[in-house]
Point group: C2
């Protein structure tokens, strides 16, 4: 079975770990979000790709959900001693090495997809991890600029990590997406997939950004195979992070049903909501998307594997 | 008093520490060798500038003579885990931060001289440290290439650090020197100097490379102020490192007298040799260079300060 998964960071990575356990024989291709990528200290940092790679490769900081286990922060301390920031982005020494290798390879002319493959040669994530695009796409968030009475766009990481999404987001701009091309292998994987899954990743800044790369949404809609998603909203609140803030920016209420409608039946065939949101099933199904309510908290790998099994079952149902 | 010092790495840095102690009121400008600079992991590494900066700024690994005190090597371990080398060049985590800041600033368009000034804002070395040139000059060493029966040029660091200068050096090539311009401030400092000193740095790959930048040798020769050097060879062997190997490559014997003659009376007014080389005084003076034999081992800051005092005394003598 060939499975394609669109993934952001923590939620996508943990779901993928469950999926590997649930379908050990499957050939899994992960299309990773690169809209969160940022240049820090002159180095190219790809938070979502790295979270997937570290999680599936056994190097993740388990409790934190991102970054490396057994991490140290000597380089960051030294950069601060030079007065060089930003200090709000937590790059550890082990993590720095990844960004140094990536930046060196990109400087040598390799596209991000080739670099990601090279990094994965070490981590052996057990999936094929492809960035959504080799072109630069950068998610910017429009926020108030009180000092001059207007608005300004800041990098997603500045909004998310530095500001903790604590100010209103007026718009989410995937800068560069319109000109971006899917990375080599992305459309081919979608075209050859038996099933396509949307993990409980952020529907706006993770999966939404991947879908904003011209050709990807169309390829999924036209693939003719079941497309099943899992709600990142449980009980009207995001399971992790601050997805409600960016949903508001695109005019979508932070409920399991509204997110399904936002994707729409043109894209989604099936949708899993949490048992606490069982009342949403009817609304989602009336939008033409088959829906089931099951536990959606990835408290451990077994729980994530059970979610993956249910998603695959729902996919089979929608295909029949 | 304005003193200009041409400096390589360890020998230059330790001499400068002594000079600061010997002449606390002097305004010292250091013209640093950048021929040892190397790009590693996509980062620009300037070993000699950093050794001077760390030594005078209190951050040096004292016993080792280069690199940072209290150093850790997490980044390097991780790079090795990615299979990315070279593993023979010892970059620690603290040191990496310096190279990251430097590379980021150069990428942003700052010349190396401005970057060096910015890094020194943290280290406060108590001297003005200027790279010999903002242009790329890279010392290559011609060695045998047994596999194809010919010869090849390798980067100085590969010859020095990886090969430990254990193979014959047939030539030393300061690649790019002919096209290089002295960095802003270099010729001005020489023109305004009251005395110019050559510390016991490598006469070929450190001071020789600085002198290879067009305009610098001429400015020193024409400055009309005393130029005094200290022999890096004591008892027919280099005090540190493997200077004898590269001296052979330029056809100069590894003796205190031969190095003085190599610089020549057109450049040097005074030369200090170690007491064990007292027999060389006559030969050096017959070459038109005033010479004195004094202890030249920089066993501690006091010893280096005494050497600096003697060098300044000899400078006064040659001027009278």
């Amino acid at each position: 079975m060939r499975i394609v998964v669109l993934a952001g960071g923590i939620g996508g990575a943990r779901f993928l770990r469950g999926l590997k356990a649930a379908a050990p024989e499957a050939e899994i291709t992960v299309i990773g979000n690169t809209g969160d990528d940022i240049h820090l200290f002159g180095l190219k940092v790809c938070p979502d790709l790295d979270t997937v790679m570290y999680t599936l490769g056994g190097g993740i900081h388990e409790e934190q959900g991102w970054g490396r286990a057994d991490e140290t922060f000597v380089v960051k301390e030294e950069l601060a001693a030079y007065g060089v920031g930003p200090e709000w982005f937590g790059l550890g020494d082990r993590d720095f090495a990844t960004h140094i290798v990536r930046t060196q390879m990109i400087g040598a002319g390799y596209p991000l997809s080739a670099v990601t493959e090279a990094l994965c040669a070490r981590w052996q994530p057990g999936v094929r991890l492809i960035p959504m695009s080799d072109d630069r796409v950068e998610t910017h968030v429009v926020i108030d600029a009180p000092d001059d009475g207007g608005r300004k766009a800041v990098h997603f990481q500045e909004y998310w990590v530095r500001l903790h999404a604590s100010v209103p987001a007026h718009a989410i701009l995937p800068v560069g997406a319109e000109q971006a091309k899917p990375a080599p292998g992305v459309l081919e994987a979608i075209g050859e997939a038996d099933v396509i899954l949307f993990p409980p990743s952020n529907p706006v800044v993770s999966i939404g950004t991947i879908l904003a790369v011209p050709g990807i949404r169309e390829a999924i809609a036209d693939a003719g195979v079941p497309v099943v998603g899992l709600s990142p909203i449980v009980g009207d609140a995001p399971v992790r992070g601050m997805a409600d803030k960016v949903l508001a920016a695109v005019g979508v209420e932070a409920t399991a049903a509204a997110v399904a409608e936002h994707y729409g039946s043109g894209l989604l065939d099936g949708w899993l909501v949490d048992t606490v949101d069982a009342a949403a099933v009817e609304r989602v199904e009336s939008a033409g998307i088959r829906c089931r309510a099951v536990p959606l908290l990835m408290s451990d790998v077994d729980a994530a594997a059970q979610m993956a099994r249910t998603a695959l079952e729902l996919a089979r149902e929608t295909a029949s």
